[in-house]
């Protein structure tokens, strides 16, 4: 636990302050872009809880954010509810229930099977929202109103105002960061780390790893649901693309790019990917190729992601250590 240098929390604090101050200088286009980045960062952080901290590689994560978004959109458009509290509660309940269902099935598997089953179940949800007419079809739907938080006559928060969306997203980003770092340093997080490093041994030490994996999956789905809710509130639009595996893969790339197993990594990754896209798309029509090469370069030269070099030096030794432990060689016997 103490092995991680406080550099990373410091980096997060700097980024958060930077985001908070950015509207003083940024124009409206970039303010909107940063809000989008923050929402993507929350989604990626929730995925990193599974991928980086527990070793469960999910390729269906957009299913949970997308479900939350669709539920919020349906309640606004079909039921005319704009009150933020019930909207958020219903969205989170829906994403949590979806994660419970998908997780209950998928935590029984591991490795490539886990990837495939989360992908398959995620795509089932994609087709559910895509094909059932109630949800608005392939083109998606625009919100007829935005969520509002009001007490009596006083409106506290109106998510149709751009700056209020911006600071709500920032507040959520910080809250999710604090929540996840608290949970990860608690005994619960210790078991997740044990599962990532050596699942069988964690079980043999008396932990019901299946139950921890499921709880982690649901927690991750709930945070993804928050991201999905913010996304629909921010953009005023939801479509099956938000549930599709492209979105899941994008979140996974953000996690890998920024640095798995760190909470600030997904934030850095979200900024890097979206800003790079924005910049390169202006320069060339082949911007996807450039992005692809960039991702490959990061994976090759910074295997711990963009924040990798900021972590303590000993992480670099790990691949070698793992080899040594797998085969306690004759030499090491003699060393002793």
């Amino acid at each position: 636990m103490a092995s991680r240098a406080p550099v990373l929390p410091l980096l997060f604090a700097l980024i958060a302050v930077g985001i908070a101050l950015f509207p003083l200088v940024g124009d409206s286009f970039y303010i909107r872009l940063v809000a989008k980045i923050m929402v993507l960062a929350i989604l990626a952080m929730s995925l990193d809880l599974l991928v980086g901290y527990t070793g469960l590689i999910s390729l269906g994560h957009a299913a949970f954010s997308g479900t939350a978004g669709y539920v919020a959109a349906a309640l606004i458009n079909k039921a005319g509810i704009t009150d933020l509290a019930p909207l958020l509660a219903a969205s989170l309940a829906a994403s949590g229930a979806a994660a419970l269902l998908v997780g209950w099935i998928s935590v029984r598997t591991s490795g490539i099977y886990f990837i495939m089953i989360t992908l398959a179940l995620g795509q089932m949800l994609f087709f559910f929202f895509h094909d059932v007419a109630f949800w608005g079809g392939a083109d998606g739907v625009n919100l007829t109103a935005r969520p509002v938080l009001a007490v009596g006559e006083a409106t506290l928060l109106d998510l149709s105002v751009r700056m209020e969306v911006y600071y709500t997203a920032l507040a959520c980003l910080v809250a999710v960061y604090l929540l996840l770092s608290t949970i990860l340093s608690a005994p619960f997080g210790q078991v997740l780390r044990g599962i990532r490093i050596n699942e069988a041994r964690t079980r043999a030490l008396g932990h019901d790893v299946q139950r921890y994996k499921l709880a982690c999956f649901v927690l991750s789905g709930l945070v993804a649901g928050l991201a999905g809710f913010l996304e629909v509130a921010r953009g005023g639009f939801i479509s099956p693309a938000h549930v599709n595996w492209h979105e899941s893969a994008m979140a996974l790339i953000v996690v890998i790019l920024g640095g798995m197993g760190t909470l600030v990594g997904p934030v850095v990754g979200a900024f890097a990917l979206v800003l790079l896209e924005d910049w390169v798309a202006d320069l060339t029509d082949h911007w996807k190729l450039v992005i692809g090469l960039f991702v490959i370069a990061v994976v090759l030269f910074l295997p711990d992601g963009l924040v990798g070099p900021l972590k303590t030096g000993k992480c670099r030794l790990l691949p070698r250590l793992r080899q040594r432990v797998k085969e306690p060689s004759r030499e090491s016997v003699r060393d002793a």
Binding site: M1, S3, T182, I183, S185, A186, P187, F188, G189, Q190, V191, R193, G194, I197, N198, A200, R201, T202, R203, A204, L205, G206, H207, D208, V209, R211, Y212, A215, K314, L318, L321, R322, R324, V325, P328, S332, V333, D335, A336
Partner: protein, 256 residues
């Protein structure tokens, strides 16, 4: 009348056509060091895996203090007081020695959804982890990254992690595997200290070690029990000598 803590009845496990454990009925007595011997492939490790719950049996039952635990998952057996160490070092290489024991010590916390308080503030867990580390003789290495330990130290840590769960019944799969002479004696010394308060079920190839600490010995051949009895009786048994001790003498030299 000695109290039976763990009992197997016609316990069997097959892998495809291979009957690794073929109908073993054994009674393990409380407070006794019970060693299981046998040539390679006799089914010793499979037996330990069945007892610990790492493998489900194909047939037969396992009773712990008279209760049927045949289908009980590993973590619930740990809650009953089972602890096991592995033949192949099975640790968390990137964590410190203390953190390796921590996870075991944490298994004794009541409940499981501990989400908010930092793990470091659970004093009883820390105490248990430190006690286990001291018992296995690694207290001076608490902060060392487990993957950088010497082979012998890793074997000690393997035992320490098991002790951190405060088990009553220890399943030890070749605790001396690959150890030098001096390290072996350190671990044998530890096992001798542990037998005062624990029940030990021990698989070991080192004959001197087995005969110096075991109170009862079972010899297995081809997945079945050949003979069970006191060390003296096993030493004197002609069947055992034929099946195992005879050619193992030569084999030991070879392996060392």
């Amino acid at each position: 009348m000695p109290e039976t803590i763990l009992e197997t009845r016609d316990l069997a496990r097959s892998f495809g056509g291979l009957r690794a454990v073929a109908g073993v009925s054994l009674a393990f007595e409380k407070g006794v060091v019970h060693a299981v011997l046998g040539p390679n492939g006799a089914g010793k490790t499979t037996l330990i895996n069945l007892l610990s719950g790492d493998l489900p049996p194909s047939a037969g039952t396992i009773l712990f203090q008279g209760r049927d635990i045949t289908r009980l998952p590993v973590h619930e057996r740990v809650a009953l007081g089972f602890g096991r160490s592995y033949q192949k070092t099975n640790i968390f290489p990137e964590l410190s020695c203390l953190d390796n024991c921590w996870l075991g010590a944490q298994a004794r916390l009541p409940g499981w959804l501990h989400l908010l308080r930092p793990a470091r503030r659970y004093a009883p867990v820390r105490d248990r982890a430190e006690r286990a580390l001291a018992l296995c003789g690694l207290d001076h290495r608490a902060d060392a990254v487990a993957g950088t330990l010497s082979h012998g130290e890793m074997r000690q840590l393997e035992i320490g992690m098991m002790l951190a769960t405060e088990p009553e019944l220890l399943l030890l799969d070749e605790p001396l595997a690959g150890m030098g002479v001096e390290e072996s004696w350190r671990v044998i010394d530890l096992l001798k200290r542990l037998r005062a308060e624990h029940t030990l079920i021990l698989i070991e190839h080192d004959m001197d070690a087995v005969f110096s600490i075991a109170g009862r010995i079972t010899v297995m051949v081809n997945g079945a029990e050949l003979e069970t009895g006191s060390p003296d009786r096993i030493r004197a048994s002609a069947a055992v000598r034929d099946a195992y001790l005879g050619h193992e003498d030569g084999g030991e030299e070879h392996a060392a």
